[in-house]
């Protein structure tokens, strides 16, 4: 039973600012992903929650109890390491029992045995208890790591890229398995990953980090549909987002953005007028952006088309095609249905619906809305 609250958490390693002023709340029983490229401070954040690193400043609360001075062992967290950290000199059984046996007072042998067998059942290791950990496959090592963190019944689970070494099929299986386990034990989980697909698929809320700074914290839908800044827009989504430099004009009551290069129509962004006009530096340039999935493809002669672009490449993915297009000096991407696959060199009309278009301030990178 625990809510995690980070308050202005900061960690510096000498000159390196690993984590900067990070504040967020993970509600009890929720599944939180810390997402970002390597070096963004997500593992450092995790280590501070576990107690393996002391924060430079800021505080961590578990259910309103400040814990940053507690030893890792007193925090009641379970930690799954990226490289599993399995004690290879022990059997699977002893690995699972380790967390219980180092407890003081040491639990009775029967109790340890009962817990070990229960956990082994949950993670699917019941048949492998007597095997030496050194002889396990990577997949089984992962299960041992998961089981070992579960046995102490932690209030909080911390998982540091636990699936990054697994093969694709087993990774997909473990993703579902982990969600099941999380649902079963109902505890708070914090999951570190650099894979946005993993984060989007598993987490209730995602904290996107870059260079030690929290970029956005929200549900997968929020991150996908309303990215707070250009970094998040770029990082979330399996097909790279489209970006085009644009100019802002006013036409009576209407506020319009128009791509600055090439021939194209204007996009009505009147709903964002206040934000655009009130941006920090009124002279800063703007970029419009739209998800490839939200680009509508129409015949090139359609009056609806915002702009026309030439097909450069088609990536068939089975369920859909990713169509790479060339618009002036810019590469654009759109997602099309396989039934109407265009040919390379075809001209397509693309519609940018205003509701799907994001406008970013180039000076700050922030979304204007």
């Amino acid at each position: 039973m625990a809510q995690i609250r980070l308050e202005s958490l900061t960690k510096h390693f000498g000159e390196v600012r690993a984590v900067q002023d990070l504040s967020l709340i993970a509600e009890h029983g929720s599944f939180i992903a810390l997402l970002g490229p390597s070096g963004c401070g997500k593992t450092t954040t995790m280590n501070m929650i576990a107690g393996l690193e002391k924060p430079t400043s800021g505080e961590i609360y578990f259910d309103d109890e400040a814990i940053s001075r507690l030893e890792p062992g007193q925090r009641n967290v379970g930690f799954v390491f990226q490289n599993y950290a399995i004690f290879t000199h022990m059997s699977v059984y002893d690995n699972l029992a380790f967390g219980l046996r180092v407890r003081k007072p040491r639990p009775a042998r029967e109790e340890v045995d009962r817990e070990v067998r229960k956990v082994a059942e949950t993670v699917g290791l019941a048949q492998a208890l007597d095997r030496r950990a050194a002889r396990l496959s990577v997949n089984d090592l992962q299960k041992v790591a998961l089981g070992r963190s579960m046995i102490v019944r932690p209030a909080i689970f911390l998982l540091d890229e636990p699936f990054s070494n697994l093969d694709a099929a087993f990774r997909a299986y473990m993703r579902a398995e982990l969600k099941r386990i999380q649902h079963e034990i109902g505890q708070t989980m914090v999951y570190v990953t650099h894979d946005q697909v993993e984060a989007m698929g598993m987490a209730d809320r995602i904290a996107v980090m870059s260079l030690g700074v929290l970029q956005q914290y929200g549900t997968p839908d929020e991150l996908y549909n309303r990215p707070a800044n250009r970094f998040v827009a770029n990082f979330i989504g399996s097909v790279l987002m489209n970006f085009l430099p644009c100019a802002y004009t006013k036409d009576g009551d209407r506020a319009l953005v128009t791509p600055t290069e090439g021939e194209s129509g204007a996009i009505d962004v009147s709903d964002r007028r206040a934000a655009i006009e009130g941006r920090e530096d009124a002279a800063s340039s703007l970029t419009l952006s739209i998800r490839p999935e939200r680009v509508r493809i129409v015949p090139p002669d359609s009056g609806e088309a915002t702009l026309r672009a030439k097909v450069a490449l088609v990536e068939p993915l089975g369920s859909r095609d990713i169509i790479h297009l060339r618009f002036g000096e810019h590469d654009l991407r759109a997602v099309g249905a396989p039934g109407r696959r265009p040919h390379i060199g075809d001209n397509l009309g693309l519609v940018f619906d205003p509701a799907a278009v994001h406008v970013f301030d180039d000076a700050t990178g922030l979304a204007l809305r």
């Binding site: 393996l52 030893e71 890792p72 062992g73 950290a85 004690f87 022990m90 050194a134």
Partner: protein
């Protein structure tokens, strides 16, 4: 038909393959045996010598390649089972070596344990916490960069001054030797164990700490067992060094307080003449402890070599 056959041979046969096929492995084996014999001969000579009676040791004008009248006399004398009266050279010097062997065992094992205890913690500190900065490992190795003989004389004065020279407690516990053996082998322990500890992922100790261990608990329960093989190899290496030391014991001890290698050397020359048979017997006995130790930990040695197999 014949023409076809001939064409084939010209194409297939490599030009220089005149030597018959069977000669190649034979030649190889012969070379191996020859080199092996070269290395094994001194060992053979010592072992056979230890079973030779006095007249066969080194008679003028004759070489005994094999003991004509094999005897256990040398072993009996050196182990004090029978006295040395039969020997024409019998003087006070060819006494039993048991006392010296005991001194050797105590000093070598004591020194090894001391070096291991201090060295392991130092190595872990360096490997895991970068204790002492980047130069510390080199500063420690520096202790071994000059030959021990370079410092043995000042050290001798120092030992005389603090009363550790030739000092044996309880008649078998040579503290001075143990401390020196520990000190001179300590750098090896640090360097060997450091690299073994570096192979253990940091997360191993962190996992134990998250589970509730203290830093010490994590070290003993999680990290140290992972380097068992390396530890065994290091212990054997250091023990052999200490066991075979001559110089330090020669300078720092006298008479009954010496170790077996020093006694071994004293069996040569002087009034007693060269007691080759006794020397050989003692040498053979000296081989036993490291060999037995090596066999006992062989299992771990192999594991020490395959260490790190889990890094996937």
């Amino acid at each position: 038909m014949a023409a076809v056959e001939e064409t084939r041979t010209t194409f297939v046969a490599p030009p220089a393959s005149r030597t018959p096929r069977w000669l190649k492995p034979t030649g190889r084996i012969l070379t191996i045996v020859l080199i092996g014999a070269l290395f094994a001969f001194p060992l053979y000579w010592v072992v056979t010598m230890s079973f030779k009676p006095l007249p066969e040791w080194n008679p003028p004008g004759k070489v005994y390649w094999w003991p004509d009248n094999p005897t256990l006399e040398n072993y009996e004398k050196i182990l004090g089972i029978s006295s040395g009266e039969q020997s024409v050279f019998a003087t006070g010097r060819s006494r039993s070596a048991v006392e010296f062997l005991v001194n050797s065992v105590v000093a070598a094992i004591g020194g090894t344990i001391l070096a291991l205890i201090v060295g392991i913690f130092t190595a872990y500190g360096i490997a895991r916490f970068r204790a002492g900065g980047r130069m510390l490992p080199f500063q420690i190795l520096q202790l071994r960069m000059f030959p021990p003989i370079a410092i043995i004389i000042p050290l001798l004065f120092f030992y005389v001054e603090i009363g550790l020279w030739n000092k044996e407690y309880f008649g078998w516990f040579n503290l001075g030797l143990i401390v020196l053996y520990g000190a001179v082998t300590f750098p090896f322990v640090v360097w060997l164990m450091r690299s073994f500890f570096q192979e253990v992922p940091r997360e191993i100790s962190e996992a134990a700490i998250v589970d509730g261990c203290t830093q010490w608990g994590a070290f003993f329960k999680a990290v140290l067992p992972q380097v068992k093989g390396g530890l065994a190899a290091t212990a054997l290496f250091v023990f052999i060094l200490n066991w075979s030391d001559f110089l330090i014991a020669k300078v720092m001890t006298q008479d009954n307080n010496s170790t077996a290698p020093v006694y071994l050397q004293s069996l040569q020359g002087g009034a007693s003449g060269n007691e080759y048979g006794l020397q050989a017997a003692l040498a053979c006995i000296l081989i036993i402890p490291p060999a037995v130790f090596g066999l006992l930990i062989q299992r771990y040695l192999v594991r020490g070599l395959t260490f790190g197999a889990i890094k996937r």
